[in-house]
């Protein structure tokens, strides 16, 4: 029996195609994955992301605990409401999970972790807590739901749907959050567009979903979420990084704080590794579709794609690939697609931001 979010009935009413995603019954699309993708790039779309888990970390030692646990530095969270993207590493320097940490109040943080890794994360957090900060409380918030509303018109349509929310969130800078009653409204997302992620009591979720539908926000499924995040050059856990690969070889060096004297789990292993590979963008130069785990041949050695798809915004196929560290931008490489060699161009990602292609001057 699959887990269901509080919006499951709402998805069924919209005739969603429901699939098993990390043990959760989630909408893949509501008719057209590409149409949903365009809605987010051009107007506003919303995603049920309640399968992801909010975990509250509370107590006087919460900050010290997260300083010892996370690869990014929570000292960077100066004011309540600020958010930070970070990996949680194992002792070997592999990625246990990636997450967003919100600083809510002194002694109060909230982590949002992936659905498929939530149980593993809770066990890992408990184990590290016992070692680093036994007094800190770790509370899994399965009582909460999360809706992401994304796109150039997302904020405006959210405000239309939630009277009073505009006053609370109009001045919110990117990558920060504010409370609105018992909701947390964060200007974050996984699409490369402006918008909010709203965490709220599950009892409120359907009413917000329906109010946003009435404001003209298109429901969007996990299919569009994947094409949007890949165009935006955002990693997907389990695909572009996992426990066996260093964040330095997964395009995540910018999130690993090796500069401060702070000691955190996995720091030594990551600091000692000399990366041999790196994550780079690919654009297919012929017809076809790049997918994950296709072999790539370069002048510097071999590698493989970690994520690939058709990009609805660009009208061609894109991928992330883990290739030898010497691979530069603007090189043509071979990709084996179902036994046949195709040519792809290496590019700097993100591929798309705020509805606009970022690769046009990288192709010829």
């Amino acid at each position: 029996m699959l887990n269901r979010t509080s919006l499951n009935d709402a998805h069924r009413e919209l005739n969603a195609k429901l699939v098993d995603f990390g043990g959760w019954e989630m909408p893949l699309h509501y008719g057209s994955q590409i149409g949903e993708h365009h809605s987010v790039r051009r107007d506003a779309g919303m995603f049920d992301v309640s399968h992801m888990l909010a975990i509250d970390v509370q107590g006087d030692g919460a900050k010290a605990f997260l300083l010892g646990l996370l690869a990014n530095n929570v000292e960077r969270l100066a004011q309540p409401g600020e958010a930070l993207y970070s990996c949680m590493l194992n002792e070997q320097g592999g990625v246990v999970d990636d997450l967003i940490v919100y600083y809510l109040a002194p002694g109060g943080y909230r982590l949002v972790v992936n659905a498929g890794t939530a149980d593993k994360d809770l066990e890992w957090l408990g184990r590290q807590r016992d070692r680093l900060a036994p007094d800190v409380e770790i509370i899994a918030r399965r009582d909460l739901s999360m809706i992401a509303v994304q796109g150039p018109q997302a904020r405006k349509k959210f405000w239309q749907a939630s009277p009073g929310a505009e006053g609370a969130s109009a001045q919110l800078p990117p990558f920060s959050a504010t409370t609105f009653g018992d909701w947390l409204v964060a200007r974050t997302g996984y699409t490369g567009e402006d918008g909010f992620e709203i965490t709220l009591p599950s009892g409120d979720a359907t009413a917000l979903w329906e109010a946003m539908l009435a404001s003209g926000v298109a429901p969007a499924g996990l299919g569009a979420r994947d094409t949007l995040r890949l165009e935006a050059g955002m990693n997907l856990y389990g695909q572009d990084m996992d426990e066996t690969v260093s964040p330095m070889e997964s395009g995540l060096a910018w999130t690993v704080d090796l500069d401060s004297s702070r000691v955190f789990v996995g720091k030594q292993a990551v600091a000692e590794l000399r990366p041999e590979r790196k994550l780079i963008g690919l654009v297919l130069r012929e017809r076809g579709v790049l997918r994950a785990h296709q072999p790539v041949q370069t002048a510097h050695g071999d590698g493989e794609t970690t994520s690939g798809t058709f990009s609805p915004t660009l009208g061609l196929s894109i991928a992330l690939a883990r290739l030898p560290v010497a691979t530069g931008f603007g090189e043509d490489v071979g990709v084996e697609i179902r036994g046949r060699r195709s040519v792809a161009r290496t590019v700097k990602y993100p591929f798309v931001r705020h509805g606009k292609s970022l690769i046009d001057d990288q192709m010829d």
């Binding site: 994955q33 149409g35 299919g223 017809r287 058709f310």
Partner: protein, 129 residues
């Protein structure tokens, strides 16, 4: 959507229509396009190539996944629907209208052995459970 009774079908979700000149047109079924989702790429067989019944003869890709196309009959490829290269979404819009290629069948008996609409509907039904 109803399964057209004038067509024949394979258990790999191709439809086959006999034309007045004895050649056959081939496409994928409504059920197949629904399972695949938004189509973004069609790799058609080469005109002039010969295939055996059941042989892989092309690929169709959606945003989600790639799927092989199989020759429903043995024979020679006479034509492919070039308009699908730039507009594979036509298959999503009307799968039974969007023919993909035409074959001159080697053996008319193979045509008789294909599924009829009621036989194919049982396959669709079995897959939805």
């Amino acid at each position: 959507m109803t399964i057209p009774s004038e067509l024949k079908y394979t258990d790999t979700h191709e439809w086959v229509r006999t034309e007045s000149d004895g050649t056959v047109s081939v496409g994928i079924t409504h059920h197949a396009q629904e399972q695949l989702g938004d189509l973004v790429y069609v790799e058609s067989p080469q005109v002039g190539r010969k295939f055996k019944k059941g042989e892989e003869c092309g690929v169709i890709e959606s945003v989600k996944a790639a799927s092989d196309l199989y020759a429903p009959l043995s024979g020679e490829i006479l034509a492919v629907n070039e308009s699908l290269a730039d507009a594979p979404e036509k298959i999503n819009e009307n799968a039974y209208d969007a023919w993909m290629f035409r074959i001159r069948p080697d053996d008319p008996a193979e045509l008789e052995a294909l599924l009829d609409a009621s036989g194919y509907s049982k396959i669709v039904e079995a897959e939805s459970h």
